[in-house]
């Protein structure tokens, strides 16, 4: 309920929901908060904000969506997008939130310091490079 009570709306040139629309092409205002995305999300149990809450934060232009841990736990499995009854591609919204961070050249994983660097499949490393480093 915290989200509803203490929303901090940052005013800037473009509001968060507009920026997300520009980056992902998705209209978060279609969301009816049914929670299907959260129900199917394999990472939801570990997220600080669940996928439907992230969508809601974006709708409120609340910057906590950009700063959340949840967007880095999303693995783009696309199940939320498959299940959404309003045809919102939730995975693209998550990607857009990551992109806002990455475009400020933020890194959330130190690839060079990985222990299993030689053992890991190259696809995991390339994907991490794409998704976790700016």
């Amino acid at each position: 309920m915290e989200i509803y009570l203490e929303r901090k709306v940052k005013r800037m040139e473009f509001e968060l929901s507009e920026r997300i629309k520009m980056i992902s092409g998705e209209n978060v205002f279609k969301c009816i908060s049914c929670g299907r995305c959260t129900a199917i999300c394999p990472a939801a149990p570990f997220m600080d904000f669940k996928p439907h809450q992230i969508i809601h934060l974006v709708r409120l232009n609340d910057e906590r969506a950009v700063e959340s841990e949840a967007i880095w736990l999303c693995t783009s499995c696309m199940y939320c997008s498959e299940r959404c009854p309003r045809d919102i591609d939730v995975a693209r919204v998550m990607e857009a939130l990551r992109a806002i961070n990455l475009r400020k050249r933020k890194d959330v994983v130190a690839l060079r310091k990985l222990k299993d660097l030689k053992k890991l499949p190259p696809m995991a490393l390339v994907a991490s490079g794409r998704k976790y480093t700016g």
């Binding site: 992902s24 570990f46 736990l73 199940y79 499949p121």
Partner: protein, 289 residues
């Protein structure tokens, strides 16, 4: 039949057993697989943002090289075979994006000014589709030598073959392609909730603890239903399932095989299997008979 083949980085590095068995199986069915002369990493994920083009450049460049080689060798079927689920997803998504989005075409052309134009007619096809649609399960059945009778298998599709829906090789909610093939081989596919779920993929570089927990849950679910092995077609799913078990349980309770390895075994073509994999599979089969 000639088929152009895009290998991708992972089957050349950590999943060599997959490449060996899959190409061997296709050879048995008279398919002449020709590896692309030039290819680069597909980039893993064509990019879900709609305002950028750079993530789509690498897959499109590969498709252009495939197109040029098809013209050079006069191969008219336009198929491009992939083994890795992620490569399939990336190349196919990039292809569809190129066809649908005019703005992206302009921007990609700007990146690729020295390459010929992509005509948009390369049909990216996954190994499983080749077996089902180009070879046919009936033909597979005719050639079988060994029966995998009594072997309970947990099929694991992973995300990349099934989602998003427009590129899915089967019904994303209830895929049956792998199970049908397993039944033909004589094995018994189990029904369990994780069949089309995510293994947490590349989260393994950032939060391995969560990945191990997730894959332990998947393994427990399969074990409860009596499975003896996992079968997949994604090298990253295979890695996570295996390492997850090692880290969560201390040993491997359910070995992970590629679908092609089981087919190669059932065909009696042991030379396409690595020695350790073959003896492991034989041990398991001896145990269930």
């Amino acid at each position: 039949m000639k088929l152009l083949y895009y290998p991708g980085c992972t089957v050349k590095a950590t999943a060599t057993e997959y490449e060996k068995s899959a190409l061997g199986v296709l050879k048995e069915f008279g398919i002449d697989v020709i590896e692309l002369d030039r290819w680069i990493c597909c980039g893993v994920y064509h990019g879900l943002t709609r305002d950028t083009a750079y993530q789509t450049v690498a897959p499109i460049r590969n498709l252009i090289w495939a197109q040029s080689q098809a013209e050079k060798l006069s191969i008219n079927n336009n198929y491009l075979l992939t083994l890795c689920s992620m490569c399939y997803n990336t190349l196919k998504s990039a292809h569809l994006r190129y066809l649908k989005d005019e703005n992206i075409v302009k921007r990609i052309k700007a990146y690729l000014n020295d390459e010929p134009e992509y005509k948009g007619n390369i049909n990216v096809i996954h190994f499983m589709q080749v077996l089902k649609e180009l070879v046919g399960y009936d033909k597979v059945k005719e050639k079988l030598v060994n029966n995998l009778k009594g072997l309970k298998v947990a099929p694991f599709y992973g995300c990349m073959l099934l989602r998003p829906r427009e590129i899915a090789i089967d019904d994303p909610e209830n895929p049956q392609m792998m199970q049908d093939l397993l039944r033909i081989l004589g094995a018994e596919p189990i029904t369990y909730p994780y069949v089309n779920q995510c293994c947490y993929g590349y989260l393994v570089t950032r939060r391995p603890d969560l990945v191990w927990k997730r894959n332990a849950d998947i393994t427990n679910s399969a074990l409860e239903r009596g499975a003896r092995i996992f079968v997949t077609t994604c090298p990253l799913c295979a890695y996570n399932l295996l390492e997850g078990q090692k880290n969560a349980f201390g040993d491997v309770k359910l070995p992970v095989f590629y679908e092609s390895e089981l087919v190669a075994y059932a065909l009696g073509k042991y030379e396409y299997l690595k020695d350790d994999r073959l003896s492991m599979l034989k041990n398991i089969l001896d145990g269930v008979k």
